[in-house]
């Protein structure tokens, strides 16, 4: 495998995060047919290593923006699991009291900027946060950073290019991370891109780029760590393209390999290289089992929290239309 072997503490932390995301989403998929989760879900299963690799390199004060396929990034950045589950249930205990659902998850305390269901929309907003961070008084090299996740489809939106240019022009402290899973819903890159040279396109804005083809969580983590160091030093934005693969259907809990647009052959290499399994295998069995048990308990508690949480009061319909 590529990437240096991480120390034991990092290994355990990264595995815990990967495992928590995978098992949470598997639990969401298991619960989904019971109609308890009253929100569309776009599962990240298979793509966890990008979120975990980048977010593990972030500091607690950093911010992170993600997409409607955002469960992985939310949890990787330390978003509250109980609130996330209650939010998916549409309950009062959700992070946004049920007004967000899965597609607009938010946890500002944990540095999770609100997510958007309109592709590309959060890219400039993340840059706006970086714009404000650049103006904060911090010791040299210790400035805060915003990490901005988006998919391959978002790079086709005009606002992506506009934001790259602005961020490079003003040397904003932002790490752009493209999770390239090869599909916009069901449209392959070949229907959408004249060339696959995404990093080359980005470099024309004078932004350093890093292309990672195998979704190795430690390669992603190391790359992000060195990029973030340069960004904190005031060198301006950097860009990572992480190839990855969405294992489940675009929206919903199931698989879609019997549909007409892709086959299980495409999945196989990604499953063989699955970050959750390979990282888990690097741990001693007792440590791994302890993490697994702990994760199960956390998820069970979150589901229980969501079940027990009341529905929002009717008057909540009218709260938060305008800020005081």
């Amino acid at each position: 495998m590529s990437g240096n072997t991480p120390d034991q503490e990092t290994l355990a932390r990264v595995y815990r995060s990967l495992r928590l995301i995978r098992r949470t989403e598997e639990e969401i998929a298991r619960l989904y047919p019971f109609d308890k989760i009253k929100s569309p879900v776009h599962l990240s299963i298979g793509q966890e290593s990008v979120s975990v690799g980048v977010c593990d390199a972030l500091q607690p004060g950093d911010m992170m923006s993600a997409t409607y396929r955002g469960h992985a990034a939310y949890l990787a950045k330390g978003g509250d699991l109980n609130q996330m589950m209650a939010e998916l249930y549409g309950k009062d205990g959700g992070g946004a009291g049920g007004k967000a659902g899965s597609m607009h998850l938010v946890d500002m305390k944990a540095g999770v900027l609100g997510m958007s269901a309109v592709v590309g929309t959060t890219i400039p907003i993340a840059a706006g946060f970086a714009f404000a961070m650049k103006r904060e008084e911090k010791p040299e090299g210790q400035g805060r950073v915003t990490a901005c996740f988006f998919g391959d489809g978002a790079t086709e939106e005009g606002v992506f290019s506009e934001t790259l240019n602005f961020a490079a022009l003003h040397k904003l402290p932002i790490l752009f991370v493209c999770e390239n899973n090869g599909f916009a819903i069901h449209s392959p890159l070949s229907n959408r891109w004249a060339t696959e040279a995404l990093c080359e396109r980005v470099r024309t804005y004078s932004i350093p780029t890093h292309e990672i083809g195998d979704a190795n969580v430690f390669t992603i983590r190391e790359t992000a760590t060195s990029a973030l160091k340069a960004i904190r030093a005031g060198d301006g934005p950097q860009f990572m393209e992480c190839k990855t693969y969405r294992w489940r259907e675009h929206v919903g809990p199931g698989e879609d390999y019997d549909d007409d647009y892709r086959t299980r052959d495409g999945l196989a290499p990604w499953q063989e290289n699955d970050a959750v399994t390979t990282t888990g295998d690097m741990l001693d069995a007792p440590e791994r089992e302890a993490i697994d048990a702990d994760v199960e308990q956390q998820i069970a508690k979150a589901v229980e929290f969501a079940e027990q949480s009341p529905w929002p009061e009717p008057e909540e319909l009218f709260s938060h239309v305008y800020a005081d």
Binding site: G94, G95, A96, G97, G98, K99, A100, H104, V106, D107, M108, L113, G114, S116, V118, T121, T122, I123, P124, I125, A126, A127, G128, F129, A130, F131, A132, M133, R135, G158, V159, E162, T163, N165, F166, L169, S319, H320, V321, Y322, A323, D324
Partner: protein
């Protein structure tokens, strides 16, 4: 509602009132910044941002690439992070490039994220008119923003309200669409030196009358006031109301007036279909005791460039007076004022821009 009676008032132009509002708020709050194409150049958005770059520097008065979509999002992000951006557009038509960010994010963020974020930003935009502004420099798009919960929309028509509304908009914790009109820029009014706010959601009765209520939006308020003078010559007493703020809208003041006069003509600086005028008429009628109502606005066409066609695209004092007269005296033969008054600031406005 208070009127400008401060003894320290000076006669100030709409342009200078806007400029002073921004300068004073930038002095008070280091989080306030101005951003937009050409806000820092020698022309300073017709003078409204002139001098600010020299005083506050490039970090707080920032030129932009022609990337309205991204810059709007960047303002939203900066606002969520605690800053107070003022995003300036030389024409309102360019707001169409910002719609995704304004409608899908700015308007919704506070609600969609359960109150975890707020978006205190101001979007300044100017409606153009005459000297060939034509199809894409003349649109009044305020009703599109009134439609969406989470946005506030104000359209001050004089220098006093321009300063007070802009300060209120900057201090507001919500996105505010600030609608200016190019022909109002040279108008003057007494403006207090010290900072003050004009509260949103309060209409202003700017001319009292008994026979009909004229509601004038943005620049059409000026035309309504001129129409009021013409109507007086024909023996019709018109009350003229400036809504000032379109969202929130002071339906009470307008409905009270319309209830008293029994007739209401709303004149918008925009098209009538699904517009601010339609909203005002509907809101007043819903209060019961519905008056006889009428609406005027842009012709249901694209704005032509040539003045020979453009003159019939807009309502003016003469056409407003004629329509109001017909509403007040439906049984009389139609009346039209003898001469169409040329408003001084309208005559003064020449190109190139």
């Amino acid at each position: 509602m208070s009127t400008p009676t401060d003894p320290n008032s000076r006669n100030l132009s709409y342009v200078d009132a806007l400029n002073e509002a921004v300068e004073q708020e930038m002095d008070l709050d280091p989080g306030v910044f101005v951003i937009g194409l050409n806000v820092d150049d020698h022309k300073g958005i017709q003078g409204t941002t002139q001098g600010l770059f020299d005083k506050f520097g490039p970090e707080r008065v920032m030129d932009t690439p022609l990337s309205e979509d991204a810059v709007t999002g960047i303002c939203i992000g900066a606002a969520m992070a605690g800053m107070r951006p003022i995003h300036v557009h030389i024409r309102m038509d360019f707001l169409l490039l910002c719609m995704n960010q304004l409608i899908n994010m700015a308007a919704k963020a506070h609600y969609m994220y359960g109150g975890q974020t707020r978006v205190p930003m101001v979007v300044r935009s100017i409606i153009g008119k005459s000297w060939g502004q034509g199809a894409q420099h003349s649109q009044g798009l305020h009703s599109m923003f009134m439609h969406v919960p989470g946005l506030k929309v104000v359209a001050p028509t004089n220098a006093y309200d321009a300063k007070g509304c802009l300060i209120a908009a900057i201090r507001d914790n919500n996105p505010v669409i600030f609608v200016e009109h190019r022909l109002l820029y040279s108008t003057n009014a007494p403006v207090p030196k010290a900072p003050y706010t004009v509260e949103f959601g309060k209409a202003r009765i700017v001319g009292e009358g008994d026979d009909i209520t004229l509601v004038g939006i943005s620049y059409m308020l000026v035309e309504c006031l001129a129409a009021r003078d013409l109507l007086a010559e024909a023996g019709v007493s018109a009350e003229v109301i400036d809504p000032v703020s379109l969202m929130p809208l002071d339906v009470d003041t307008i409905a009270q007036s319309a209830g008293r006069t029994g007739k209401m003509l709303v004149v918008d600086n925009a098209w009538t279909a699904a517009g601010a005028g339609a909203e005002i008429v509907a809101a007043v009628c819903e209060r019961g005791n519905a008056p006889t109502v009428g609406r005027m606005g842009y012709a249901a066409t694209t704005c032509p460039t040539t003045p020979s066609l453009e003159k019939d695209f807009y309502p003016n004092a003469t056409t407003i007076a004629a329509k109001a007269f017909a509403m007040v005296q439906p049984d009389e033969k139609p009346w039209t004022p003898d001469a169409e008054p040329t408003l001084p600031h309208e005559a003064a406005f020449k190109g190139p821009f």
